[in-house]
Amino acid sequence: MEQFKIETIAPLTVAGTDLSFTNSSLWMLISLISIAAFLFIGTARPQLVPGRMQAAVEYLYDFIRDMLRENVGKDGLRYAPLIFAVFVFVLACNLLGMVPFVHSFTPTSHIAVTFGLAMIVFTLVVIVGFARHGLHFFSLFLPEGTPIFVAPLVALIEFLSFLSRPFTLAIRLFANMTAGHVLMKVFGGFVVSLGAYNIALGAIPLVVNVALTALELLIAVVQAYVFALLASIYLNDAVNLH
């Protein structure tokens, strides 16, 4: 579990709380800088006929906008920048954590960070829900056509499932990233231990690890997509109330 270890780089304590700048913070900063470079270069001189970088930015942005249009409708497009920010942040953290040889760290493999991301989505949903529908937002917990005698039960279940959303959102991302990284480490360990015994034997887990790396890259992208997709589905509840 050494790859998930938090290492303090610059100690910082505020009011008795440890807020040190750690390797997790460093890789979030690297993600931020990468995204900033990507976006600022891509939108430096926006043109009707886009260049490569602009086309790349547009592609990602269109991807998010299409997702919102499909899941939320036209009203959802207002939240495209925020969902986009969540998406690229998760994507950058996931992908940069895969860079070899540089002591890379995946901030999204820690539940504290994924929970922070999930809370952003959850808070957005609650704020948008109450802002658009006021107290009527509570009708989300009682689907239309529910028989009156099961209504309290249904409302309770719906309410609990609503409250569990940030947790499931956070745990899904954290668990996927952690499990994949652990698996890669395990097979990396096999390469060393079996390779020490016999070089040819060491090649087997190495081949597996190459395939796992590809899989892990796929998971890095897919999980960012899933996170953004679920965020837009939850947002749909807030905007359209089922």
Partner: protein, 158 residues
Amino acid sequence: MPQFDPASFASQIFWFGVFFTLLYVAVVRPTLPKVGKVIDAREAQVSGDLDRAEAAKGQADAIRTAYDDGMKQARDAAQSAVAAARDGAAKAAEARLKQLAARLDADAEAAAASLDLARANARAGLESTVTELTTEAVAKLAGIEVTAADVSAALAAR
């Protein structure tokens, strides 16, 4: 697992908050709407171009229809003119034919009438000649004086 060590939670969430806020406020907010604007402008231009093309097509269709209508009208007019000319010519020919036939009929009738007249005259001439001859022959052969009226009566009786 270090993930479940609460000691680092505060720091992680704090720095996450800092960097995500920076990302949203200082990176995404100033850049992304520019791209959105460009995308919208492009869509507007494309749909505008499509609309213009549609309008031009409509115009072309209208011109085409007008042309076709004009052609049809001209063809109809030409056809009716040809038909009228043919009818006129046929009528005129018929009329002249009729006229000619009438004249020919009249000529034939006149000829027949004059023929009849000539025949009657000839007959009348012949009768008087025969009567005269008979009168003279009777006088010479029988020495009987007969009048022309007697001869006529006798001839008529035969």
